[in-house]
């Protein structure tokens, strides 16, 4: 399905790829889950460390986030762009899929029983949905003061302020920011319930791919994970690329992941009736 054709002529980004769209036709229906994004990249850009980004990711496209250097952390939050009162619901996401980590095959549920995005590719295997995001006092306590006056754009930013400001640009704000996901980071829970941050979870070149199942306002922030043990503020960049992708088939790996996801996809498809 190509419900949202891009005005590709308007995209002049230096990294734009113009290769053909081979491999995306309906004839390719048996190549289960193996659709090369490379052939259809619409836009590609670098998100520096410590920065915030947002985009309305259209249904029929996917966003790939690549940890270029290794050790990146990307806090992410998602809202239904058409109806922002509907937004990412972390508890519903975890309990529907009986998981306390996120990886390929999982989907991100809204509070309305629908799927915002599916995780269609993942080379990491564990993304942290538990530990939340950094805030100004945490960053100052960990890394010391790092104001803009002294440090210019290397200043010590934090994810909570970054995401709140980004939401503000859409007429939303901090009150709209609920629980988030940390891509590329791993925090385990031991038998007593204690948390443990796992360093080195994401080697250079790791990536995760999110397929939009509706038009999703995606907000990303590349500040360090709040539990990373480093003494110096050293946020890592990621690259972001958006591609056209086919609609999920009946045998889609995320749809088939569990019975709950079958119903989640069904309810999402009802939304578009």
């Amino acid at each position: 399905m190509s419900a949202y054709p891009y005005p590709t002529d308007a995209l002049t980004h230096r990294n734009r790829r113009t290769a053909g769209r081979g491999g995306l036709s309906s004839k390719d229906g048996n190549a289960r889950g193996v659709v090369s994004m490379e052939s259809s990249v619409l836009l590609s850009e670098v998100l520096p460390g410590g920065a915030t980004w947002s985009h309305v990711l259209k249904r029929g496209t996917a966003l790939r986030i690549t940890d270029v250097e290794g050790g990146a952390n990307v806090a992410a939050y998602f809202l239904n762009f058409e109806l922002p009162a509907e937004r990412f619901n972390l508890p519903d996401t975890l309990k529907a899929q009986h998981t306390a980590r996120l990886t390929k095959g999982h989907v991100l549920y809204s509070d309305m029983g629908r799927i915002l995005c599916s995780i269609t590719e993942d080379t990491v295997g564990w993304h942290d949905p538990i530990a939340g995001i950094s805030n100004a006092s945490l960053v100052e306590k960990k890394y010391g003061r790092g104001g803009y006056q002294q440090m210019r754009n290397k200043w010590h930013q934090n994810a909570r302020d970054g995401l709140s400001v980004e939401l503000g640009k859409y007429g939303l704000g901090a009150r709209d920011l609920h629980a988030t996901v940390n891509f590329f980071s791993k925090v385990t829970v031991d038998a007593t319930g204690d948390l443990h941050y796992t360093p080195g979870n994401s080697p250079a070149g790791s990536y995760v791919e999110l397929r939009a199942e509706m038009n999703v306002l995606v907000l990303l922030n590349s500040c360090p994970h709040p539990m990373e043990p480093g003494k110096a503020y050293a946020p890592k960049p990621v690259t972001l690329s958006i591609s056209k992708v086919p609609a999920p088939r009946t045998d889609d790996a995320c749809r088939m992941h569990c019975r709950e996801n079958l119903r989640g996809f069904l309810l999402t498809e009802f939304y578009f009736l």
Partner: protein, 219 residues
Amino acid sequence: MATVNLQMSSLRPEEALEKFVVEGGDWFAHEIRRGQTVRIVDLEGNQAVDTLFYNAHDYSDRYSAQDTIREQESVYLTAGTRLISTDGNVLLTIVADTCGRHDTLGGACAQESNMVRYAIEKRSMHACRQSFVQAIQHWKHGLEKRDITSNINFFMNVPITPDGGLTFADGVSEAGKYVELVAEMDVLMMVSNCPQLNNPCNAYNPTPVEILIWDEHVR
């Protein structure tokens, strides 16, 4: 299994300032002033009590499950846990707990999530989110749907495994078990006494809970 951290309270119910019984499927909203103590009693056992807290003077400053988990470095709540707000304030501290641990990752049930989790036909069954939305509509003072965030499930057992699994297990609570919190600032407490009939979070049998409030001077 998880460590169990039992802590009894010396407060006497007959000295409580106020007492309320919240039936299964009902909601409860009440301000707790700084220094006051609130106790939730699982009257019949294995009841999930979905609870949200707000700074009573600024509802945008509200309970944050992720900040609370990270700051304690533990996914379970028990005696000694400080409930952290989005602005980094300590809203309340758990001072007594005869259950041992409480969940804050499982969230509240909703008609919509019941459709995903159990069956499309479950839509019309009562759910916590119905109660929370009704609670904010009655409480007013500017509370909106966006203020209904990830809550605490007192008495609910949602074990997380070291390999990242999550399950809803039989309750660890029993009749008469309680959890008690001291308000570190003026807070609004909002409760949905869970009506869920589809999983063991309340033993498939929603039952009443009692909420008691003591004034500061009794401690």
